[in-house]
Subunit: 287 residues, 2 copies
């Protein structure tokens, strides 16, 4: 495995094997550079990784699980298993639970975020995954639907092409891995700014994070978010919001949201969750 | 004309007959309440208004001009003329120039903003219109393409569904009525946030103003912007921007823009251009 030394997705300056949470905007490169998937593989231990793929968001879990399995095996991961959970009872399966104890990385595929939460939320398996993530023992990645579930509040659906309004977005409970954020994915690709703003109007204390396709917001354990990939990560910070009419208007009425802070971050940029500040890419510090 | 007393689009508290610039996001109601067009008519003098309609952005100027003429006549305007300018030489037409001297309101229709600027920019007629607007002698309204031309820099075209990038937007010179802003129209309806952000990356000293359909940003002479209509006015303020990679990246590369301020304003909200601050709707102060 010379791969790590010659094509490491992270430069020596930032090189780190610490566990991370990777929130991926969907449609990540699975064929060419595979930068994001390789970053996950690397953060899960690289050649020593033991990876669990949970394809439960998908209606074709076997096919999709197999595809990711092949990708991570091609990268050199020794142990990759698909936990094809199609029933909540499987969240108590001793074999699956044992594999989660042994693994170093968990990958949640795309599909339908309501389906994923319906199958996983509050199961012993999911509770153990969350616990191991919080302890920094494993890396967790989710793409598309697998990204949407990361917050406490989750965007379950919605539409675009309208002024921000409450009816533009359907909210549900997520898996709460990083509770303080509301994630939207395929973000600029599917024109989801208005729906993220609509979601935030009811939860201004949360951080809105819109992630474009083939783009990843990588959450380090110290509160730093790194941007990896081809698109942008949009951060809408409503914590200084001075006014919204959200409680006063009807569900289809246009919303007011005053004094939001907006950051568009691209590859190599960071954002410090605790300081609420973006950090520009240090020239040459990342490939 | 009981209309003014019973259905005034502005309450007594804010009632004003002073001239204003109305920047309309397109597709304004022409049939039912006609709130925005009625506000223009009222700000042009109401029953005493003398209105010039310039339909030159459109490829069907006669039809479109006639439609607006009929609307303003139905409201009770005594003098409404269509200045059907199809050639730059008409920008020196003495008859048109005389009408502009006598009018109290000028209305620019939708169509193609490049066509409108090509026909009007730097003509004596347009210079006189600009001068009279600056002196507060006439009201000026522009819808869709007629709104796009209001700034010094103008969005001539672009697309959506991508991460903000320089190639997402085509810029040109506008008519410079309110030079400090870059206008985008049909804003959330056509998902134009990414293109407005892309435009701003090169002009962070300008204020980005995205106006939804059937919505108007009404610029008072004292620097106050009032929101009238059914959608939102989005203000993106890049004047505190701490970083952009705009000069460093290729035309299709994703942009970074750090520390923008974002305001979503709805009907009755205001924004103070000089103080850079939104003002929430005073409950009950506007219909």
């Amino acid at each position: 495995m010379l791969h790590l030394e010659t094509q490491s997705p992270e430069s020596p300056m930032f090189q780190s094997t610490t566990m991370a949470v990777l929130v991926i905007g969907g449609a990540e490169d699975k064929v060419h550079g595979r930068e994001i998937l390789q970053t996950f593989w690397f953060r899960s231990g690289g050649a020593n990784a033991t990876i669990a793929i949970i394809p439960s968001a998908s209606r074709e879990p076997a096919l999709l699980g197999e595809r990711y399995q092949q990708i991570f095996e091609e990268m050199g991961a020794k142990y990759v298993k698909v936990l094809d959970i199609r029933d909540r009872a499987q969240g108590e399966d001793p074999y699956f639970q044992q594999y989660i104890e042994e693994c170093s990385g968990v990958f949640l595929t795309g599909g339908d975020q309501l389906r994923l939460c319906g199958l996983l939320a509050d199961t012993p398996l999911m509770e153990r995954i969350r616990q191991r993530v919080q302890l920094g023992e494993i890396s967790l990645a989710g793409t598309s639907a697998g990204a949407a579930v990361m917050g406490h509040h989750m965007i379950a659906g919605g539409s675009s092409g309208e002024s921000p309004n409450r009816a533009l977005v359907d909210m549900a409970m997520g898996l709460g891995i990083i509770p303080e954020m509301i994630v939207d994915q395929h973000f600029h690709n599917r024109n989801r700014m208005a729906r993220l703003l609509s979601a935030l109007s009811n939860h201004p204390e949360r951080l809105g994070i819109g992630i474009d396709e083939d783009t990843c917001a990588l959450f380090e354990r110290d509160g730093l978010i790194r941007v990896v990939g081809q698109g942008t990560v949009t951060i809408v910070d409503g914590r200084e919001m001075s006014y919204t009419n959200q409680k006063e208007v009807g569900p289809s009425d246009p919303l007011s949201l005053h004094n939001l802070r907006l950051h568009i971050l691209s590859h190599g940029d960071c954002y410090h969750l605790h300081q609420n500040q973006p950090i520009a890419k240090v020239s040459g510090s990342l490939p």
